[in-house]
């Protein structure tokens, strides 16, 4: 078994593109985790000047990192006992954006496995805003987990 903290440590993302504060639950069926939007996130400078709103693509990224990549690391680790030599590739998503989110909001992301086969992981993921108690975004996410050596440049 790999611990939630070990999974976070294995994420390939670094500041300012690391969007997982805490993983509360990781099983082979899904994950639950949190990210709080900082007041000084780089994207608020331009989206929009004087009116900071979280870009939808960033919401999707937060959901993908917590719901898809953390789950993928866990599944791959349980299968091969080695999740170091793999990179996550985001392959598709289909989401509905329901509510905007703002600096300081705490987001809770929950994912549920649809399938993990042939190296492809597909999940249903929801993002809730705990600050406003609203469902922010939901949809299906897919990605591949591939060996580093096989990634075409």
């Amino acid at each position: 078994m790999i611990s939630p903290q070990e999974i976070i440590d294995k994420l390939p993302y670094k500041t300012p593109f690391h969007f997982v504060d805490e993983l509360e639950e990781v099983t082979d069926k899904g994950t639950v985790g949190y990210y709080t939007l900082k007041q000084d996130e780089y994207f608020f400078q331009g989206h929009f000047p004087g009116n900071p709103v979280t870009p939808g693509v960033i919401i999707v990224e937060i959901m993908a990192q917590i719901g898809l990549v953390c789950l993928g690391i866990n599944l791959e680790h349980n299968k091969s006992n080695n999740s170091d030599n793999f990179v996550p590739l985001f392959s598709s998503t289909n989401v509905d954006f329901l509510k905007p989110t703002y600096p300081g909001d705490k987001l809770k992301v929950s994912s549920r496995l649809i399938y993990y086969r042939f190296g492809k992981l597909k999940c249903s993921i929801e993002c809730h805003n705990l600050t406003s108690d609203e469902l922010v975004c939901k949809g299906e996410f897919s990605g591949m987990i591939v060996k580093k050596d096989n990634v075409e440049k």
């Binding site: 590739l89 392959s91 598709s92 399938y115 086969r117 042939f118 190296g119 492809k120 897919s142 591949m144």
Partner: protein, 84 residues
């Protein structure tokens, strides 16, 4: 089930994932799923899952690598149906 029937059914399954639908009109067994039909390689897994559901068969990791063309995919479906 004949080869032609399977090919027609396969056409229905892969149709969802072929970006240029006109490529389906002259579909032949020689067509490569990725190279000729321009299917996103990540969708090959979805096609395989759809095939498994439709024919109630199980396709393992080794077999997916052999499904390069429409004809090869039909071969795999026949093999799995035979060994059911």
């Amino acid at each position: 089930m004949t080869r032609e029937q399977i090919k027609d059914e396969l056409k229905g399954i892969i149709g969802d994932y072929v970006p240029e639908k006109e490529l389906l009109e002259s579909l032949s067994e020689e067509h490569e799923l990725i190279g000729d039909l321009k299917i996103n390689s990540a969708h090959i897994v979805d096609i395989v899952l759809d095939i498994e559901d439709k024919y109630d068969i199980m396709i393992e990791d080794e077999a997916i690598g052999k499904m390069g063309t429409v004809g090869e995919s039909i071969d795999i479906i026949f093999q799995k149906l035979d060994s059911k």
